[in-house]
């Protein structure tokens, strides 16, 4: 007998959604830390570092995420690491995130008026404190809406993990669709789960952006 797509089947999808959330948060945390380094490198005074970071960003923005993930998944074993699909995906998505967040935060850092860091320098505040106490808090405010929008993109991007065989939301959908033969309902339900994961973030981002624009 063929199984019908009912409540228990939906719970199976939600179980997959848990991994979507975990993977997104992991990639966002690791990628965010790397992204800060990319943004600081991209705005540094040392030209070779700026060029290096610009190239890094260009590479990730100019190739498909899927190819980046394949590349990490098949590339790491060559370096002698035995990688699990989880590790490969976390590394791949983190690198992707770091490039995009790096570019977003570069823009925010440059959007902070020059007078701010000039004043800090005039007061004799060193690079570290100038960044941590003066520039970055203001840049964070400016970059917040775009950062949240990127998080939405990241959540959607984790769907590609399905193509590498990780049983997250989309892959659960594929499995469920194969069992129930009701692709329309299953993929509709999968889309809805993604929708309810992403919409609050999209709404938040739009709201913050409006408030920032109103303040100006």
């Amino acid at each position: 007998m063929i199984r019908q797509f009912g409540w228990n089947e939906f719970l199976f999808l939600l179980e997959g959604a848990r991994w979507t959330v975990v993977l997104s948060l992991l990639a966002f945390a690791v990628g965010g830390a790397l992204g800060l380094a990319v943004a600081l490198g991209r705005t540094s005074k040392w030209k070779p570092l700026r060029i290096f970071m610009a190239t890094y960003i260009q590479i990730f923005q100019g190739t498909p995420l899927l190819v980046q993930l394949f590349f990490v998944y098949f590339g790491l074993p060559l370096l002698g690491f035995k990688v699990d699909v989880w590790v490969a995906l976390t590394i791949g998505l983190s690198l992707h995130t770091s490039a995009f967040l790096g570019e977003i935060w570069r823009g925010s850092i440059q959007a902070v008026p020059d007078g701010q860091s000039e004043a800090a320098r005039a007061l004799g505040i060193g690079y570290r404190h100038r960044m941590v106490d003066v520039v970055l808090p203001q840049a964070l405010r400016i970059g917040l809406p775009a950062t949240i929008s990127f998080l939405v993109n990241l959540i959607k991007g984790t769907a590609l993990a399905a193509l590498l065989g990780l049983t997250e939301l989309t892959r659960s959908g594929q499995l469920m669709s194969n069992i129930t033969f009701q692709p329309l309902q299953v993929y509709g339900a999968v889309a809805l789960v993604y929708f309810f994961l992403c919409v609050p973030l999209t709404y938040c981002s739009a709201r913050i952006e409006r408030r920032l624009n109103a303040a100006r």
């Binding site: 100019g62 692709p183 999209t202």
Partner: protein
Amino acid sequence: MNYTFDFAPVFAAWPTLLEGMIGTLRMSSLSMVFGLSLGIFFMMMRMSKLPTLRTIAIGYIELIRNTPILVQVFFVFFGMPAIGIRLSGEQAAILAMTLNCAAYAAEIVRGGVQSIRPGQIEAGRALGMHTADIYRFIVFRPAIRAVYPALCSQFILMMLNSSLVSSVSAEELTYFAQTLDAQTFRSFEIYFTLGVIYLLLSQFVSVALGIIGRVYFTYPAK
């Protein structure tokens, strides 16, 4: 690390990769053209005076923008046959990408249209221009010009995203690369080359669209 790199099987397969490149460009251009037209339609619904039309357009745009394109592709490819519409991989890919692109294009073009000041339209009316001419010359052309860079990056994004329609066996670049991988087992070399090809392709498209934009939007022309 004792791995011998061997790019020879990858380079030997260049006709296949070229075919894939053409497939990628074909699918993404078609989806962009259809998507932009459908997007302008949704944009007009979104800005209409009727609340029902507005709600439908907002619902559609938000639904598409908050779900992964991979799920949309699966929904079209596996879901449509359930209601009696059988699509080939490529048709499903183009349909899904068109629907996806329409939502993004609608929002981008709306930004452009909103940047047109009402005084411009009033001036056009004062000069006795036709409504159709007002829309064509005063609203649409400057609006598209204002958002042309955003549309270009949307197109590039679409081209990169088209890599995942390989999963429904639409014959584009990534699909052929995966086939090649299955034949030669040179995974690393193949995906490295694939990355380089996409990088070059996106740089090339970016430059080409820039030139087209400069030619088409330089005005007042003639």
